[in-house]
C-alpha cells in the first residue's frame, strides 16, 4: 500500500517536474522584449503577489513538514487551507512525504506492562535521533482518558497501516496516535456453534482500498465441547469492518488444514495481505509455511517456504516485510542460549513461491532474546535477556546497538514503527462520539529530563 502510494507520488512529482521544466524552457525562448517591457510593472506585481496567498503547491510543501497535530490546528486558518488539509490526496501524500523526511528521527510506538502486580499496559511513543551521540531517548505516554481501569490491557500491536494501529487486548482498539483517536471495537461476534469453543486466536489488521475500510481478521481454533478435543489444523474466521463497525463470520474460513506457530510481533502487511508463520503436517513432519489473508478479496492463501531452519527447538523464525513492503521475508535466529549467526531470508518475488533466497547472515549476538521489530532491510529491534528494548542497526558503516532504556515484564514488550498520519477513524457522524481522545504526557518511567 505504502509503496504503491509512494511510487505513484514519485511518478506524479517527476511528471510535474518535467512538464515544469519544459514549460519554463519554452517561456524562456520567447523574445526577451516582452519581459523587459513589463519590467516597470515588476515591483507592483511583486507587491501584489506577496499580498496574495502562496501557490497551493508551496503551501502543501511547507505543511507536509509539520506534525499532524499542527495540521489539525491549521484547518482553522482559512477555507482554502481547510480544503487542502481535508483533501484525500493531500492526506495520502502527507503520509508518504512527511514520514520519509524523518529519516534520522526514529519513532516507535511501544506497549509494555511495567509492573508484575497489575495488568495495566502503557502505550508510549519513544523518539531519538540516529545522529545523536548523547544517546538521548525521549518518551511520552499516550493516556486514553476512559481506559485507565486496572482491567484494561493491551498485549499485541499491529500497524502502522496508513498510520492506523490495531491493539489486541481488552478492549480491542484501533487507534491513530497522531490524531489522538482511540476507538474500541465491539465485542466479538461468536462464530463457533454451540457445540464448540476456542482456546487460541490470531489476528491480522489491514486496509481495503476498494472500500476505504480498515479491517481486523481473527482466526480461532475449534474444540469440541462434547469430547474436549481439538480439530487439528482447522480454524474459524471473523472479520471486523470499521465502516460497518461490526463483526461478521467469514463463510469460507480457512479452506485447508494449517497450524500457526504464534502471532508475529513484526507487522507483516504486504500487497493487501496480512501473514502468519505456520506449518503443515506432512505425515508427521512439520513443514514451515506462511498463511496469508487478503483484505480486499477476503480470502486465505498458503505460501510454501523451503527448509530454512534446522528445528523449531533451536531456531526461532519471524516474518517481516521487505523492500518497502513489496514482499515478505523471514528472520531465522537462535533460541536463547545458542550462539549462532542468524539468517535473513527473502521472497524475491512475492507472487512466486520458488523465489525464496537467503539474503544475508549476521554474526551471533549474545544479548538478544526475541525479535520485536524489523525496519528497512537491516534494522532490528530486539528484546534483550532482561527484557530491555535494543535497537540494532546492521548497516555496514553505521552498525550499532543502542539500549532504548525501556523494559517490559513477562514478555509484554511490543513495538511498531510510529508514523504521523492524518487518516481519521471517523466514519460519519454516528460513530464520532464513540472515539475516545487521549492526552500525551511525559513518561515517568523514562524521563531523561529529570
Amino acid at each position: 500500500m505504502a509503496i504503491a502510494m509512494f511510487s505513484s507520488v514519485c511518478l506524479f512529482c517527476s511528471f510535474l517536474f518535467q512538464s515544469f521544466v519544459i514549460l519554463q524552457t519554452k517561456i524562456m525562448k520567447l523574445p526577451i522584449l516582452i519581459l523587459t517591457t513589463r519590467r516597470e510593472e515588476g515591483t507592483k506585481q511583486e507587491k501584489m503577489s506577496m499580498e496574495q496567498y502562496l501557490p497551493r503547491e508551496l503551501v502543501s510543501n511547507i505543511l507536509s513538514r509539520l506534525p499532524a497535530k499542527d495540521l489539525l490546528k491549521c484547518k482553522r486558518v482559512c477555507k482554502s487551507w481547510f480544503d487542502l488539509l481535508t483533501d484525500p490526496h493531500f492526506i495520502s501524500n502527507y503520509y508518504v512525504v512527511h514520514n520519509s523526511l524523518q529519516s534520522l528521527e526514529k519513532h516507535l510506538l511501544v506497549i509494555r506492562r511495567p509492573f508484575l502486580s497489575n495488568l495495566k499496559t502503557s502505550i508510549s511513543l519513544l523518539s531519538w535521533n540516529a545522529n545523536d551521540s548523547k544517546n538521548l531517548v525521549s518518551s511520552d505516554v499516550l493516556n486514553p482518558s476512559e481506559y485507565n481501569s486496572e482491567h484494561k490491557y493491551w498485549s499485541e500491536i499491529s500497524g502502522p497501516c496508513n498510520g492506523i494501529y490495531f491493539l489486541e487486548g481488552n478492549p480491542n482498539v484501533v487507534i491513530n496516535p497522531s490524531l489522538r483517536q482511540f476507538k474500541a471495537l465491539p465485542e466479538f461476534y461468536l462464530s463457533g456453534s454451540s457445540k464448540t469453543y476456542s482456546l487460541s486466536d490470531h489476528s491480522g489488521f489491514g486496509f481495503d482500498s476498494k472500500t476505504n475500510d480498515y479491517k481486523v481478521v481473527v482466526i480461532r481454533d475449534i474444540w469440541s465441547k462434547e469430547t474436549n478435543e481439538r480439530k487439528p489444523g482447522h480454524w474459524t474466521a471473523d472479520l471486523y469492518s470499521l465502516n460497518h463497525n461490526s463483526w461478521r463470520k467469514l463463510g469460507a474460513a480457512i479452506p485447508f488444514p494449517i497450524e500457526i506457530w504464534s502471532s508475529s510481533w513484526v507487522y507483516t502487511y504486504v500487497n493487501n495481505c496480512c501473514h502468519w508463520w505456520g506449518y503443515v503436517d506432512d505425515s508427521g513432519r512439520r513443514e514451515d509455511c506462511v498463511l496469508a489473508f487478503d483484505m480486499v478479496s477476503e480470502s486465505f492463501r498458503k505460501i510454501k517456504v523451503p527448509r530454512i531452519r534446522g528445528s523449531a527447538k533451536e531456531e526461532f523464525a519471524t516474518l517481516a516485510p521487505f523492500n518497502e513492503s513489496a514482499t515478505i521475508g523471514v528472520i531465522v535466529y537462535p533460541v536463547r542460549g545458542q550462539k549462532k549467526p542468524f539468517d535473513v531470508w527473502v521472497m524475491k518475488d512475492y507472487w512466486d513461491e520458488g523465489s525464496w533466497v537467503r539474503k544475508y547472515s549476521v554474526e551471533p549476538i549474545e544479548e538478544i532474546h526475541k525479535l520485536v521489530g524489523f525496519y528497512g532491510s537491516n534494522q532490528f529491534l530486539w528484546s534483550s535477556r532482561d527484557e530491555g528494548l535494543v535497537w540494532h542497526d546492521c548497516e555496514p558503516e553505521t552498525e550499532q546497538m543502542k539500549d532504548l532504556q525501556v523494559h517490559g515484564k513477562n514478555g509484554s514488550l511490543r513495538a511498531a514503527r510510529y508514523m504521523e498520519s492524518l487518516v481519521s477513524l471517523k466514519r460519519g457522524n454516528e460513530f464520532s462520539w464513540q472515539l475516545v481522545s487521549c492526552s500525551m504526557v511525559p513518561d515517568h518511567l523514562l524521563d531523561p529530563r529529570k
Binding site: 523587459t36 519590467r39 515591483t43 506577496m50 509539520l66 490546528k73 482553522r76 489522538r180
Partner: protein, 158 residues
C-alpha cells in the same frame, strides 16, 4: 562571508565564469556559474542553447534583493544562523523565488525553515505570517476548534 586570502587571490587570478542575470527591478547581476547551475530554470536554458553569457538572462519574478539573499545562502552553504536574520517577507520571497528558479536544495531548506518557524504557533501567528484573511464565520471557526480542542493547548508564544 569573509574570504580567506588564498581564495581572494585565486578569484583575482583566475577568471571565474559568470552569468549575468537581470532581476525584476532591472538590476543586472553577475553570478558565478556554480551558483547559477543550482537554478534549474537557468541551467537548462544555458545548456540547451549554449547562450552568450554576456546577454543578461531575465528573471522577471525575482527582485535584486531576493537574488542577493539567495546568492549569500548558497555561498554560505545554507547556514541556519544567516537565515535567522531574514524577515518573514524575505523568507517568503526566497521561497517563491526558489520554486520559480527550480532550486531543489534551497526549496527544501527554506520550506523546512518556515515549517520549523510555524510549528507550535497559534493560528493567528500563521495567518499573520502568510497575510491570510480569516474567511470563516465565528460559528464555523468555533465548530472546527471544538472538534479538535486538544491541539490548541501547549502552543508557544507568538
Amino acid at each position: 562571508m569573509q574570504k580567506t586570502e588564498g581564495e581572494e587571490s585565486k578569484a583575482e587570478n583566475e577568471e571565474v565564469k559568470q552569468v549575468t542575470l537581470m532581476t525584476s527591478d532591472g538590476v543586472k547581476m553577475k553570478v558565478e556559474i556554480s551558483i547559477v547551475y543550482e537554478m534549474e530554470i537557468v541551467r537548462s536554458f544555458i545548456e540547451v542553447n549554449d547562450a552568450d553569457h554576456s546577454v543578461p538572462f531575465p528573471l522577471p519574478n525575482v527582485s535584486s534583493h531576493t537574488l542577493d539573499l539567495i546568492i549569500e545562502l548558497v555561498k554560505n552553504e545554507y547556514d541556519d544562523e544567516f537565515m535567522k536574520t531574514f524577515s518573514h517577507d524575505e523568507l517568503k520571497e526566497v521561497l517563491v523565488a526558489a520554486n520559480y528558479l527550480n532550486m531543489k536544495t534551497l526549496l527544501d531548506f527554506i520550506a523546512t525553515a518556515i515549517a520549523n518557524l510555524l510549528e507550535k504557533k497559534s493560528v493567528e501567528f500563521i495567518r499573520n505570517f502568510f497575510n491570510i484573511v480569516n474567511d470563516f464565520t465565528p460559528e464555523e471557526e468555533a465548530e472546527i476548534r471544538k472538534t479538535n480542542e486538544w491541539v490548541f493547548q501547549d502552543l508557544d508564544e507568538d
